[in-house]
């Protein structure tokens, strides 16, 4: 009962204070708004980058072509060596005949052409298709395989793919860095704005302390005020996330620049991002005001 009564008073006080100090509240709110917009864009970008990277990684295989005169014994040796290379996740062996059959299925003309060769003078080669664990190290793995006996050619991706993935992963690190830095900056800005509203209530807080209000009672209205600022500050960023991302997605038809970069569908993705943005807004408001009021709770 008492708990609810106190909470009711806290909420009432918080609303009163944010209205009474309207200009300061507006300053905090716009500050949160701007940060959250950038944070939302950064999160959307980095989640999309991650999504694309994952897809590319799944598609990325090393194809190993063996020499034409490779014997079955030598193939077995190669398999044993693969088991020892750490970065190899799985591999699939396709003999000349399997390759030939697959090609036949794909094209009748190719099939008839291939039929003119018998198995000894076939231009086709035995192949391995290899998936790796760490995409970043794919070129090293390819080089190791290239040095093995009877390996004719090693190919992976389009050559550009690993560079693209490396670029993506550094983009991601940078965006995470930006998001964290922005959040820290906003927390400081909120600490300062709430400090200003608190200075005008310094007297009130000192009297509260004198008449025996617990720190919790004193802190709660300010923390709720911070939460309110956070909620108001996240309205525009959320609207932008939901409608803006949808518009962006539709404008580019789900792909950016090329078919390789597939965008995540707006729903429910935009709602999830909105929730995260709201959460960050509330948290930032709370942390800011809690640390601003801390100073006044000594003595």
């Amino acid at each position: 009962m008492k708990m609810f009564r106190m909470l009711g008073r806290s909420i009432r006080d918080a609303f009163k204070s944010s209205i009474r100090n309207f200009s300061l509240s507006l300053a905090s709110i716009s500050c949160i708004t701007i940060t959250l917009i950038i944070v939302a864009v950064a999160i959307i970008a980095s989640v999309n980058v991650e999504n694309v990277t994952e897809k590319l990684e799944k598609d990325l295989t090393i194809v190993v072509f063996m020499e034409n005169d490779t014997t079955e014994k030598e193939i077995d040796n190669i398999k044993e060596t693969f088991a020892k290379i750490k970065n190899i996740d799985t591999y699939e062996f396709k003999s000349k005949i399997t390759v030939k059959n697959e090609m036949k299925k794909e094209s009748e003309i190719l099939g008839t052409v291939l039929d003119t060769f018998d198995s000894d003078d076939s231009p086709l080669k035995d192949t391995f298709q290899i998936k790796v664990k760490e995409i970043e190290n794919i070129s090293d793995t390819a080089k190791t395989i290239e040095k093995l006996d009877k390996v004719a050619v090693v190919r992976y991706g389009e050559g550009m793919v690993d560079k693209l993935i490396k670029a993506f992963s550094s983009i991601q690190k940078v965006t995470y860095g930006i998001v964290i830095a922005l959040i820290i900056v906003t927390v400081f800005l909120i600490i300062n704005t709430i400090k200003l509203t608190i200075t005008t209530r310094k007297r009130e807080i000192s009297i509260m302390r004198l008449v025996g209000a617990s720190n919790f009672t004193i802190k709660t209205p300010f923390i709720i005020e911070g939460m309110i600022l956070g909620i108001f500050g996240s309205i525009i960023p959320i609207a932008l996330t939901i409608y803006g991302y949808k518009a962006f997605y539709n404008h580019f038809g789900g792909h950016l620049f090329s078919q390789v970069i597939v965008l995540i569908k707006p729903l429910p993705f935009a709602y999830m991002i909105s929730l995260i943005v709201l959460g960050i807004g509330i948290l930032v408001g709370m942390i800011g005001s809690a640390s601003a009021v801390k100073k006044y709770l000594k003595v």
């Binding site: 008492k2 009564r5 106190m6 008073r9 007297r203 009130e204 000192s206 009297i207 509260m208 302390r209 004198l210 008449v211 025996g212 209000a213 617990s214 720190n215 009672t217 004193i218 709770l297 000594k298 003595v299």
Partner: protein
């Protein structure tokens, strides 16, 4: 029974000034005690230590069973709920009415609305301000403002009322009004009152217990004391 026990207390401020040297004091429940002394005698420091605005550097202070020196910052409110404090500068909230100022003390500790109403009106009656309930502090005289502050201090029925120069800003006539109010509270509610002052006339007229401090040391503690110039 002793409400307050001060044992071997020393207070040294961070700037190196020692305000209190080895103080021992026991104050009984229900008593009315003046703490007198010139400026720099340590009387304000003593009052501040009693409500834990300052911590003693050495020694022990027990107020109503609470070890004040050991009280953590977070727990200070437990002590403050047992006592009322009145200052020279009233410390009222200008945007609240007389009623709201007094009610504030109960609201922040989570009292019920009905209970608040009853207690606030009783306290305002005790300080004879029932007709000014809806006024704002700046519409009141200094003496009236101080009485509001006293009402706020006693509204929670504390065992102890600490007054730091409560008449310091008032003329002799208003000062006597305040003293009458405090005396009534001491008698009717049984509240222990400790009042720091340098007002000779008040001390001599009231004939209460007097603790005399000089340069941070206890000079004497008399039962029906007066303000002796040679001691101060």
């Amino acid at each position: 029974m002793d409400l307050i026990r001060v044992r071997n207390v020393e207070k040294k401020y961070k700037n190196g000034v020692t305000a209190i040297y080895d103080l021992n004091l026991a104050i009984e429940k229900g008593s009315f005690v003046f703490v007198i002394g010139g400026s720099g005698s340590g009387k304000s420091t003593l009052i501040k230590m009693l409500y834990r605005e300052e911590k003693p550097t050495k020694g022990q202070i027990i107020v109503g069973g609470l070890d004040v020196a050991k009280l953590k910052n977070k727990k200070v409110y437990k002590l403050r709920r047992k006592l009322g404090i009145v200052f020279q500068d009233y410390r009222l909230l200008p945007k609240l009415t007389v009623y709201e100022n007094v009610a504030f003390a109960l609201e922040v500790i989570g009292a019920k609305k009905d209970e608040i109403r009853v207690k606030v009106l009783k306290a305002l009656e005790d300080v004879d301000l029932k007709n000014k309930v809806h006024n704002y502090p700046d519409q009141l005289s200094g003496g009236e403002q101080q009485r509001v502050a006293i009402a706020r201090a006693i509204v929670n029925d504390p065992k102890l009322l600490l007054c730091d120069e409560p008449t310091g800003n008032l003329d002799p006539e208003k000062s006597m009004e305040i003293m009458k109010v405090l005396n009534d509270i001491n008698k009717s509610r049984g509240t222990t009152i400790i009042m720091a002052t340098h007002d000779k006339e008040i001390v001599n007229k009231m004939k209460k217990q007097v603790v005399t401090l000089k340069d941070g040391r206890l000079v004497n503690f008399k039962q029906k004391g007066t303000y002796d110039d040679e001691d101060v």
